[in-house]
Symmetry: C2
Subunit: 433 residues, 2 copies
């Protein structure tokens, strides 16, 4: 599409990793393999394994839907400090598949842990026994169809045989491709940072809104680091940093049964021990983790179904961050706002409508609205020099920024979304025809 | 489109008024006039007056948006027991127009009350003085544009000159047409019923189309009756009956700054006095009012922007009506559900998704889902004999019914919505161009 993503995704910190293309290479302690289990009919890759041969600390955040997939139920039931593998399949969500779906996870975990234990004996000097409870699963795709247990089981040996202990950008990209549904692009991001004097890596891959029949948009995001960080700190870092990244994006306001964001730490870096997230040594890591998550979250939005615009909504100076978030999502999820932007129409009246319907108390005499650098409403009034043709020109950009300034508090929140195009309807309605 | 609306809108009570076409004629005490004030550039009618020459009791429900239009602020500030006129304009919402917008209402009310007082002296045996506070306004159209006060003011004399004291179906239809925005059809409904032994009429007109969301009043809907009912009873009847009619519909989850549902009672019928809504004499009226409101609410949904399907969502046997309503709206507002139905895809997975994202606690082993008469999920499991091609055929119907049975309580709620088509995007991306 010839869009310049550089400014959109560039790291604020690491100039070396700027732009759309980030060069992910090797992270100590992570091994990867990707194969086709023929879950699609076109022999594309659809099954990915991440193998942590010496185990990994970990933390995950899952969908808040009250109906969750069987793999997420499985993951939530495991309580081990270390995990040894994450296995991701696409094409089938293993959701609404009942006891049989759960048992598929159990049987696959048993098989994989057994095979990996054998692998340990072959390859490692200090082989350990890997338990089925130390295997996690990510699933995305069709809801309600029988989980393709047999097909996946049949391909586990090949998947494990091809495990690479050393990665490069091709292997990471192949893994990101192997978990896509109708994403149009693989989504990868990385940062390097310091914990004390030790340099560590943070790599991440994600998939976003995709569609396979009967369609669900699912977000899977997996972060890998060689840092040495205990589980409880990982959990706190993850929850803190998804709040303004993966929890700040919306494509179509729908929530999947399978959403999963995880972080895995292989402990291979020689960094000093971290005891709390207020430890100063973790600040750089914290910031970099946010950067990786934000980068991936933005890529998910930019690749949202039918998206033709990337929209950033800054809601500023509210009483609370919750208020700012509520207003931001009210704007971001409004079909009337999203269609106006698709039509390159600076229809600020619809922004006003969306602020109003959010239910958050505001002081109209303090409300200001900007599209990009263009002031439209100042202190509750349309500015006198407002020239719609100038703002209309601004709306032709790919990246649209909307600023809503409430002027009644000190809390702000930024939300990211895409526009609503005919293509969205096409993808989601006309799939069968 | 050759759609048979008969079953959709038919009155359960009055066989004589069945079907899409209801023959509204005269209601004692209501006079109507409709003109073009050239608010659009094509000289269509855009200004309507309802004149109650002997006054009318009244009650209104307004938008719950925190940002409300200036006409609604005006209406809320008036406290008279009787109103003498409702003036409705389209094309401009008089929202976000500030003090000047409010002053326009005030000046128009002064002008209209003066002119109507003159009219009283000319036409009536017992002329009375009408106050500016006894004039109410309905406005709909674009938000934020300067209110076209001069154009409307200039056309008030013509509007009043053409007032008809006796109506017929043409006059009612012209009034309904005169307040349309992107509606494709005028919306009218009527019932006749009894209060004690007195026959009374309930007529209603509405406009809808965009920004249709529940929570209090929605769109513009005006009900007229010749019954003799005091303001407090009218208010209770109105609030009670919009909860499962105008508050049960959604088109695109957006809420307007201008929503207004009002009832006007001219007291011309000779019915016995009503002192409370638990008075048995009012039961038939109560039921008929619900029927008129439901009829109009359904018409608003059926004419939702770009709608190609009318969708009824019955959520049954929940712990509370609030739960049933939350699940119903989660399904009705889901873009993925709405696009699937547009594509005639029996995508029950998206129904499951929408139930899950509603956040309402459910017992999955008791969940059942039906599309029309076709059982799909029973007790939390896809039924064994499920044949997608049969349900696919059902999806070709214009009217689609979805039943979600939770089986954990006794409360139910029915929500009405339409599908999401490319035409919706077209209409809303190009609204102002």
């Amino acid at each position: 599409m010839g869009i310049n993503f550089k400014n959109l995704f560039s790291s604020q910190k690491n100039k070396s990793t700027m732009g759309d293309y980030q060069n992910l290479d090797h992270i100590d302690g992570v091994a990867i393999s990707t194969v086709s289990a023929n879950l699609y009919s076109n022999s594309r890759d659809d099954l990915v394994i991440f193998y942590f041969r010496d185990g990994a600390n970990h933390a995950s955040a899952y969908t808040q839907s009250t109906i969750v997939s069987e793999n997420i139920k499985w993951n939530k039931n495991q309580r081990n400090e270390k995990v040894y593998s994450l296995v991701v399949n696409t094409r089938n969500a293993n959701a609404f598949t009942g006891v049989k779906g759960y048992q598929s996870m159990q049987k696959l975990a048993e098989l994989i842990s057994l095979k990996l234990t054998e692998k340990q004996k072959e390859d490692d000097n200090n082989p350990i026994t890997i338990l089925s409870e130390q295997i996690l699963f990510g699933c995305t795709g069709t809801i309600g169809e029988t989980f393709p247990y047999e097909k996946i089981k049949k391909n586990i040996p090949k998947l494990l045989d091809q495990i690479k202990y050393t990665q490069n950008k091709f292997i990471w990209t192949k893994a990101a491709l192997g978990m896509m549904t109708t994403d149009t692009k693989p989504k990868l991001a990385m940062e390097e940072c310091f914990i004390g004097s030790s340099k560590v890596k943070i790599y991440g891959i994600a998939k976003g809104s995709g569609m396979i029949q009967p369609n669900m948009a699912t977000t899977l995001c997996y972060i890998f680091t060689d840092a040495k960080i205990p589980n409880d700190i990982l959990k706190k870092l993850l929850l803190k940093n998804i709040s303004n990244t993966f929890n700040a994006i919306t494509c179509d306001s729908d929530t999947s049964t399978n959403d999963m964001v995880s972080i895995f730490a292989t402990n291979k870096a020689n960094n000093q021990k971290i005891n709390s997230i207020s430890d100063k040594k973790i600040f750089d890591f914290d910031k970099s983790l946010n950067q990786v998550l934000l980068n991936l979250a933005k890529r998910v939005v930019a690749d949202g179904e039918g998206a033709s615009k990337f929209i950033t909504i800054n809601v500023k100076n509210c009483h609370s961050e919750k208020d700012a978030r509520t207003i931001g999502f009210s704007i971001a999820n409004s079909p009337l706002v999203k269609t106006a932007i698709a039509g390159e129409d600076p229809n600020w009246g619809r922004i006003v409508m969306a602020i109003g319907k959010s239910g958050i108390e505001i002081d109209l005499t303090k409300l200001s609205i900007k599209f990009g650098e263009h002031k439209i409403v100042a202190n509750g009034k349309l500015i006198e020099k407002y020239d719609e043709s100038i703002v209309g020109d601004y709306m032709k950009n790919y990246a649209i920024e909307i600023e809503v300034e409430l002027g009644i508090g000190k809390k702000s929140f930024t939300t990211y979304t895409m526009d609503f195009t005919k293509k969205y309807i096409e993808i989601n309605a006309d799939y069968r025809s």
